[in-house]
Symmetry: C2
Subunit: 454 residues, 2 copies
């Protein structure tokens, strides 16, 4: 390989053919999810009305590796293996001795890592005879990914998009429609949940919590319909581990091992996908990277939240899961990284953070957009608002290396491009982007609503 390489590619024949399940390798097993009624650990049957059985099996699997079906590999190959970028021009601009690597998932059809799980979710549903998927979307990344994935298996796809986002981002809607999905602004009059909200407020801008309730309600009513979730759950993080498995192979190709791994965390699927294979290597003593979550300072579930059983949604429809939470009724300030505006954190990410296996830090959005513009001017790619957090954290680390002279290898994930998020850059460039103080009182009020589980 040329010493001056800008990216490390893998041939399709080198693409990993298994997902990695970290659970069997953890020193302490993660606490089980609880039934919201009985507060007893839930079993597969409790989840059957919502998810395909193939996915439920993965959710509770104790196998370390799960084969990726051939039909899924065929679709992954449209864009995978994704490139590992070496940000030499950014390093030079920072005048740092550090090496910065970014695993770039923006090459996927929908423009982010979300497709890595949307495709197997569509596959297992289609295999079990399901004909329709319902889901929600906020910023639009997940809905786009599911629209693309369902098109590959001839499934119908109905997406409830948060009303405010539906109105403000017509291009995301168009993208989903190109792939054949049907969209509804949420709240809609198609569900009881939606009608109740509209009765109280006909002009409700909606919320992710409401949209989840609508999509779930529609799924459980029809035996040929299932619901799909784009983050948080174990099987979602499992599917995303192909990111980290590829990155391991790519770094090995150029003889590098990471000293620091940073990843942005909203629901936790991008972070888990990148970091779990490296955490496996660390637990096995084969490498020793510092692994760090980066979250928005205005929605800091890991650095400020409590590790408690809470609901995954505002409407209390989901099981109770033990996670770092700001309270299921907490509504984050309107930062532009819509994908990071979630009150909780994936139970698996919460567990490893609680175990001290990973660190966390929180960054304000103006620092993130400053980092993203420097990145775009040096490396070309315009990042989505979510991974601007990862880039800001990588730059912080690289600047520390500049001070200490350490030639650290920094690895992060550039989990999506920002082509459909340029309005947020427009605001930043116009000086109109604001940072929000940590809303301590709002969080305290939300935490008071979290059920007390012994």
């Amino acid at each position: 390989m040329d010493d001056n390489y800008s990216k490390v590619l893998l041939d399709e024949s080198e693409m990993p053919t298994q997902w990695y399940n970290i659970i069997p390798d953890l020193p302490v097993p993660p606490p089980p999810p609880l039934h919201p009624g009985t507060r007893e650990p839930i079993g597969p049957d409790d989840l059957a009305p919502l998810f395909a059985m193939g996915l439920i099996e993965q959710e509770v699997s104790s196998e370390s590796y799960i084969d990726i079906p051939g039909e899924v590999l065929d679709i992954y190959r449209l864009w995978r293996p994704s490139p590992l970028l070496r940000a030499r021009r950014l390093e030079k601009a920072l005048d740092t001795p550090a090496k910065i690597f970014l695993k770039y998932e923006g090459v996927s059809p929908a423009g982010s890592h979300k497709v890595n799980t949307a495709v197997p979710q569509a596959y297992y549903n289609a295999k079990e005879g399901i004909t329709k998927i319902t889901t929600e979307t906020g910023a639009g990344q997940w809905g786009s990914a599911m629209a693309f994935a369902t098109a590959q298996f001839g499934l119908e796809c109905e997406v409830w998009q948060v009303r405010a986002s539906y109105d403000q981002k017509p291009y995301r809607k168009t993208m989903m429609e190109i792939w054949g999905a049907t969209l509804h602004p949420s709240p809609s009059d198609l569900t009881e949940a939606g009608r109740a909200i509209l009765a109280a407020d006909p002009n409700s801008p909606g919320s992710l919590g409401i949209a989840i309730s609508e999509a779930v309600e529609m799924a459980v009513q029809d035996e040929n319909t299932r619901y799909a979730l784009g983050s948080v759950l174990n099987h979602v993080l499992l599917h995303q581990t192909i990111i980290g498995e590829e990155a391991l192979l790519q770094l090995a190709k150029v003889g590098e091992t990471p000293d620091v791994l940073v990843g942005c965390t909203g629901g936790g699927s991008n972070f888990g996908g990148l970091s779990f294979p490296f955490l496996r290597e660390k637990l096995a003593g084969r490498m020793n990277p510092t692994i760090r979550c980066v979250e928005p300072a205005s929605c800091p579930s890991l650095t400020k939240g409590e590790y408690r059983y809470d609901f995954g949604d505002t409407g209390q429809l989901t099981p109770l899961v033990k996670m770092h939470t700001l309270g299921h009724t907490f509504i984050p300030d309107p930062i532009h990284a819509g994908g990071l505006r979630y009150h909780g954190m994936a139970p698996l990410v919460s567990h490893i953070y609680d175990q001290g296996l990973v660190e966390a830090e929180a960054i304000h959005q103006t620092e993130c957009f400053e980092a993203a513009v420097l990145f775009a001017r040096t490396e070309g790619i315009i990042p989505a608002p979510e991974p601007t957090h990862a880039i800001a954290a990588a730059i912080r680390e690289a600047l520390r290396c500049k001070e200490t002279g350490e030639e650290k290898v920094i690895l992060t994930a550039l989990c999506g491009h920002g082509h459909l998020d340029l309005a947020s850059y427009e605001k930043f460039l116009a000086g109109e982007l604001v940072d929000y103080d940590y809303p301590a009182e709002k969080v305290a009020a939300a935490m008071a609503q979290v059920p007390v589980i012994d």
Copy 2:
């Protein structure tokens, strides 16, 4: 290589290090450009106020191969070599025995092939001490590419964007500003050309012809400023030949040679970039592909225009070049493929068409968008409006193969993604996209304005 491959990649070390100049290999040399005043062949000195000398040398070069400077290769490596896609899922949907290959340029920072020439143009200007580039942009692809390229060499970049586009496409504007360019809606009050138009019509929506006049006027006034053009000229097509050179290597990797090569033509740079290396092989008797230009039915310079000396711009500021033209005052109907709305055609593409070395066909935009939606649903990528023409032509060919049973290898260029063009898809999906009949009377009126050169 896996028999079931979806894309053919090259390692960075396999990237071509020379551009290919087709002129020495042509059976008949192309006619020279003429000075608009003297109507004598122009020399390098006539172009010096507009372009860097390194680019002028390439414009008139008689060398077959020109080394790509290392600094340009370093930047190309951010996204090059670009992938060659095999559209297996599209082939299956069409039930065709044909093999469809697409050289995908949407992986570049600005999202199209335009960056391939923007980078060397910025490089040669910077090398000669130029500090600012002026240019125009219509749809925004070229302006974005130049904004990115100038950022790599610390050059200022001033872009005159057609007013209607400036107002309708705020995201393209934001993209250019992220990379540090300064934008002006055109007509502007910064130039004599702009002020004259505004005096006559303060609400003028502008045109590419006016924007060119403004950018040229600003460039010639300052000895440290030069102008940049994104298509048509020989040196622009030269830079784009890296597309075809890579595609040749990629097809060789999988043991294929093209039977049919189709490429969309606006100014001709994408088509020339893909096809010239294959035309070299054809002229040398090493392969025998049919090579075909695809143009919009409402702006069919090759299939309906005359091969005559004409101006490259509405304002008659450019040299007279022999090309297929609909008349320099012709204003095409508002199809969504803004990059194909040009009255003329690159002199080199016109010449080889006149010589019978390539064919041409014209397609209406609704057929193109139908093809693009089928492509997006099967292969994932949402094409820019311009390459929807290439995809529609490839599908026509593949369907002919279905009838005849021929297993032809079809090669085309997917020269950009459509992430910033989703409004045109929205119109198509809503059934609001119309086809425009060939405007025979408008063309006749415009052709009457074309100077008569003996």
